[in-house]
C-alpha cells in the first residue's frame, strides 16, 4: 500500500475530479423526483361514468312502461340515436383524453427513463473516463516499471557482456597458454622421439650383435651341452641295470641336483613308473654315479638341476 504514494503531479486532477463529482451530485439532488407522485391534473370537462350493459338494460326497462307513440317513438329513437351518438362521441372523447393522458404519462416515463439512461450513460462515461485515466496511469506506471526493468536488464546485459568479454579474454589467454605448452610439448616429444629412435637403433644394433654372439655361443653351448648330455647318458646307461619283464612304455623321471663339481646333491623320483623295482633301478643308477660329467662355467647352470627320463625302448 505504501507503494502507492500519490505522485504530487496527480493532486490537481484529482481535486478537479472531486469538484466535478460534487457539482454533479448537487445537480442531481435538485432534479431527482424522489419518488413523490405529483397529483395528475384530470381535465374538468371529462366526467366519465362507468356504464355497464346491465345498467343500460335497467335503464331501458324503466323507460319501457309508457307506450311509445310512433312519433314519439321515432323521436325518441332519434333522440336515442343522437344520445347514443353523443354518448359514443363522449366515449370517444374520454377515450382520447385517456389516451392523451396515457401518452403524456408514457412520455414522461420515457423522459425519466431517457434521463436515467443519460445519467447512467454519463456515469458510465465518467467511470470509463476514470477507468481510462486509471488505465493510463497504470500503463504509465507499467511503462515506467518496464522502463526501469529494461534499464536494469540493460545494465545487467552490459555487466554480462563485460563478464563474457573478460571470460573470453581469459579463455583466449588460457588457450594461448595451452597452445604454447602443447607446442612446447610437441617440440619436446619430437626431440624425445628422435632420441628414442636413435636409442632404439643403437639397441637394435646391439641386440643384433648380441644375438649374433649369442647364436655363436648357443651353437657352441649346444654342442657343449650335447656333449655333456651324451656323457651323462653314458654314465647312467652303464650303471642302469634294466629290470627284466618290464611292461612296454614303462617310464620313470628323476630330478637330479648337482654341485658345480658334478657331485650329486640329491636324486628325487618326480614321476613313478608304477613299478617299484623299475623306479628303484633308476634311482640306484642315478645314485651310482660318483661324479657327473658337467661343464664348467655358465653352461653348468643347465646341469645344476635336470631330469632323467628312464624310457627303455624294447
Amino acid at each position: 500500500m505504501s507503494k502507492f504514494k500519490l505522485d504530487p503531479s496527480y493532486r490537481k486532477p484529482i481535486a478537479y475530479a472531486i469538484l466535478l463529482h460534487l457539482v454533479f451530485a448537487g445537480l442531481l439532488a435538485f432534479t431527482w423526483p424522489f419518488k413523490k407522485d405529483r397529483p395528475v391534473a384530470t381535465p374538468r370537462h371529462v366526467n366519465a361514468v362507468m356504464v355497464t350493459e346491465d345498467m343500460v338494460k335497467e335503464m331501458l326497462a324503466q323507460q319501457q312502461p309508457p307506450q311509445p307513440d310512433p312519433a314519439e317513438l321515432q323521436r325518441q329513437q332519434q333522440e336515442e340515436e343522437r344520445r347514443r351518438q353523443e354518448q359514443a362521441r363522449q366515449e370517444q372523447q374520454r377515450r382520447q383524453e385517456q389516451e392523451k393522458l396515457r401518452l403524456a404519462e408514457q412520455k414522461k416515463r420515457e423522459e425519466q427513463k431517457r434521463q436515467e439512461e443519460q445519467r447512467k450513460k454519463e456515469q458510465a462515461r465518467k467511470l470509463a473516463e476514470q477507468k481510462k485515466r486509471e488505465e493510463q496511469k497504470r500503463q504509465e506506471e507499467q511503462k515506467k516499471r518496464e522502463e526501469q526493468k529494461k534499464q536494469e536488464e540493460r545494465r545487467k546485459q552490459e555487466e554480462a557482456r563485460k563478464k563474457e568479454q573478460q571470460r573470453q579474454e581469459q579463455e583466449r589467454k588460457a588457450r594461448e597458454e595451452r597452445e604454447r605448452k602443447l607446442a612446447e610439448e610437441a617440440r619436446l616429444a619430437e626431440q624425445r622421439l628422435a632420441q628414442e629412435a636413435a636409442e632404439a637403433e643403437r639397441r637394435l644394433r646391439e641386440a643384433y650383435e648380441q644375438e649374433q654372439a649369442a647364436r655363436r655361443n648357443q651353437q657352441l653351448e649346444a654342442t657343449e651341452q650335447a656333449r655333456y648330455v651324451g656323457l651323462i647318458q653314458g654314465a647312467i646307461e652303464r650303471r642302469w641295470i634294466e629290470p627284466p619283464n618290464v611292461a612296454p612304455n614303462t617310464q620313470a623321471t628323476l630330478r637330479i641336483r648337482l654341485l658345480p663339481t658334478g657331485e650329486l646333491v640329491s636324486v628325487e623320483l618326480v614321476r613313478s613308473s608304477g613299478n617299484a623295482a623299475f623306479d628303484r633301478s633308476a634311482l640306484s643308477a642315478a645314485s651310482a654315479v660318483n661324479r657327473y660329467p658337467v661343464p664348467q662355467g655358465a653352461l653348468f647352470e643347465k646341469f645344476r638341476v635336470f631330469e632323467l627320463l628312464f624310457n627303455p625302448k624294447g
Partner: protein, 443 residues
C-alpha cells in the same frame, strides 16, 4: 584421486583370468629343466652283497641262510652276488653298515640279517635290504620256522629280494616234481616220482614203482599231482594228493592213457587216449569222470596243454607228416590250427604264464632243444644249446624254464632263466632224472 571408471574398464571375466593363470602355470615347467633320456640300460646281473646272517641262536645251524639266498639269486642270472671273501665287513644291523665301503666294492644292494631263537626248536630270520647308492632301506622282514624249515625261510627271503629288485614275484619257494630212474645191478629198474624245492634240494619221494612213471602234472592249487603209471602193466592216469599220498586211478582205458594236464580251474584234466583207435585229445571231468573228445583225426594227437585262461588247448600232432604244434579253441568253433612251421619237429608245448608264448621241444640239426615262440608274431627262439632236451615246464612267474636234458649220458634237470639266458643244472643225483614239472605258487 582414484579414477574408479578406469578400474571398471580393466574388469576381466573370471574365465579369462583362469586361462591366463593356467597358461602361466603351464609355462612353469616349460622353462624348466633339461631332460636327459635314458633309453637302455645294461642287462648285466645286479651286484648285490649278501652278508652272512649273524647266528644268535647259540647253536650251530644246519643251513647257511645267506648262502641259500645268494645261490637262489645267482641262478636267475639276474643277480651277481658278491664273493664273501671280498667283503670288508660283515654287518648284521644297519648301525654296522658303511655304505661307502659297499659302494667302493661296486655293489648296488646289500642284504644283511640275523637268525635269532624263537622258542624251542624254532628260529626267526630277520633280513634287511639296502640300496647302497641311496643308503635307503628297501625292506626289512622277519620270517620264522623250525630248524627243518630254515631252507624255506631262506627261500622266502630270496623271494622278497627278487620281487623288490625285479618287480616280479619270486619262485624260490615253489617246488618241482620229476621222475627218477635207478637201474639196479640185475637190470631191475626203480622209478620214483619225487617232489623237491625249486633248487632241487629237499627231495621227497612220493611214489616208487618198478614200472615206468611218466608225465607228472601239478594241480593248480599245488596239492595234487596227476601222472601216468605203468604199474598195472599198462598205462593208467592217477591223481595223487602230495601231503597224504592218497591216490586215485582216473583212467584205465585200452591202449594209450597219457599226458594228463590240469585245467587252470582244477576241475578237468586234458589227456591223450587211444581207446577209440588212435591217440586223440580228451578232456575228463575229474568229479564225474565224464570224457569229452576234443580231436578226431587219423594222426596221433597227444601232449595237450591248457592256455592260462583255459579257453585253448595246444597239442602235438603228426597229421602234417611230422610232429607239429596245433591249437584248438575250446570256447568256440573247435577249429584246429597249426602253430609251428619251423623245423620238422616241434612237440610238448607249454604256455608261458602270461599266455603270450609257447615253450616246446624243437629239433634243429639233429638236436632237440628248448625253444620259445611268440604267439602273436610266430617268432621262434632257441633257448638251450644242449642236444637231448625234453619236457619243458615253466616257473609260475615265467622267469625260468625247467627241462630234462642229458649230461654224460645221464638224464639231468636244467633250468634256463628266460630273460637272461642263464642256465644251470640242478644238483646231480643218482640215476636218471627226467620229466620235470614246476609247481604253481604255493604260498
Amino acid at each position: 584421486m582414484i579414477d574408479w571408471k578406469g578400474f571398471r574398464m580393466v574388469h576381466v571375466k573370471p574365465t579369462w583370468l583362469l586361462i591366463v593363470l593356467l597358461g602361466m602355470l603351464a609355462m612353469v615347467p616349460a622353462r624348466a629343466e633339461l631332460v636327459i633320456e635314458i633309453t637302455q640300460g645294461s642287462r648285466e646281473a645286479i651286484p648285490v652283497a649278501i652278508v652272512p646272517f649273524a647266528n644268535r641262536t647259540g647253536n650251530a645251524l644246519p643251513e647257511d641262510i645267506a648262502k641259500i639266498v645268494s645261490d637262489d639269486l645267482q641262478r636267475t642270472g639276474q643277480f651277481n652276488p658278491l664273493d664273501r671273501g671280498r667283503m670288508l665287513s660283515l654287518p648284521s644291523s644297519s648301525t654296522e653298515v658303511f655304505f661307502r665301503d659297499w659302494r667302493m666294492l661296486g655293489q648296488r644292494y646289500l642284504l644283511i640279517g640275523s637268525i635269532d631263537p624263537a622258542g624251542p626248536g624254532r628260529y626267526q630270520v630277520r633280513a634287511e635290504l639296502y640300496d647302497v647308492n641311496t643308503s635307503e632301506r628297501i625292506f626289512g622282514e622277519v620270517v620264522s620256522g623250525s630248524e627243518r624249515s630254515l631252507r624255506d625261510l631262506a627261500h622266502l627271503v630270496s623271494d622278497s629280494v627278487y620281487e623288490a629288485l625285479t618287480g616280479v614275484r619270486g619262485v624260490f619257494s615253489t617246488k618241482i616234481a620229476y621222475v627218477t630212474l635207478h637201474k639196479g645191478a640185475k637190470g631191475a629198474s626203480r622209478y620214483q616220482l619225487e617232489v623237491a624245492d625249486a633248487d632241487g634240494r629237499n627231495a621227497n619221494v612220493i611214489l616208487t614203482s618198478e614200472q615206468p612213471i611218466m608225465s607228472p602234472s601239478w594241480s593248480p592249487d599245488g596239492r595234487q599231482l596227476a601222472y601216468v603209471s605203468f604199474e598195472g602193466r599198462r598205462p593208467s592216469i592217477y591223481i595223487q594228493e602230495i601231503a597224504s599220498g592218497r591216490r586215485t586211478k582216473l583212467t584205465n582205458f585200452q591202449g594209450l592213457n597219457s599226458a594228463p594236464t590240469w585245467s587252470p580251474d582244477g576241475r578237468s584234466l586234458a589227456m591223450a587216449l587211444s581207446k577209440d583207435g588212435n591217440a586223440e585229445i580228451y578232456i575228463m571231468d575229474i568229479q564225474t569222470k565224464k570224457l569229452e573228445r576234443i580231436t578226431n583225426h587219423w594222426a596221433i594227437d597227444t601232449e595237450p596243454a591248457w592256455s592260462p585262461d583255459g579257453r585253448t588247448l595246444v597239442f602235438t600232432s603228426d597229421r602234417g607228416g611230422g610232429p607239429q604244434i596245433y591249437k584248438v579253441d575250446l570256447a568256440g568253433s573247435r577249429k584246429e590250427t597249426r602253430l609251428t612251421f619251423e623245423g620238422n619237429y616241434n612237440a610238448r608245448p607249454r604256455f608261458s604264464p602270461d599266455g603270450k608264448k609257447l615253450y616246446f621241444v624243437h629239433q634243429r640239426s639233429g638236436a632237440f632243444r628248448m625253444a620259445s615262440m611268440e604267439l602273436q608274431s610266430g617268432e621262434l627262439t632257441i633257448l638251450s644249446d644242449t642236444g637231448l632236451d625234453e619236457s619243458p615246464s615253466v616257473a609260475p612267474n615265467g622267469s625260468m624254464l625247467i627241462y630234462g636234458t642229458s649230461k654224460g649220458g645221464q638224464g639231468v634237470l636244467a633250468v634256463i632263466a628266460v630273460e637272461t639266458g642263464a642256465k644251470f643244472l640242478l644238483p646231480s643225483r643218482q640215476g636218471e632224472v627226467r620229466e620235470p614239472a614246476w609247481s604253481p605258487f604255493l604260498n
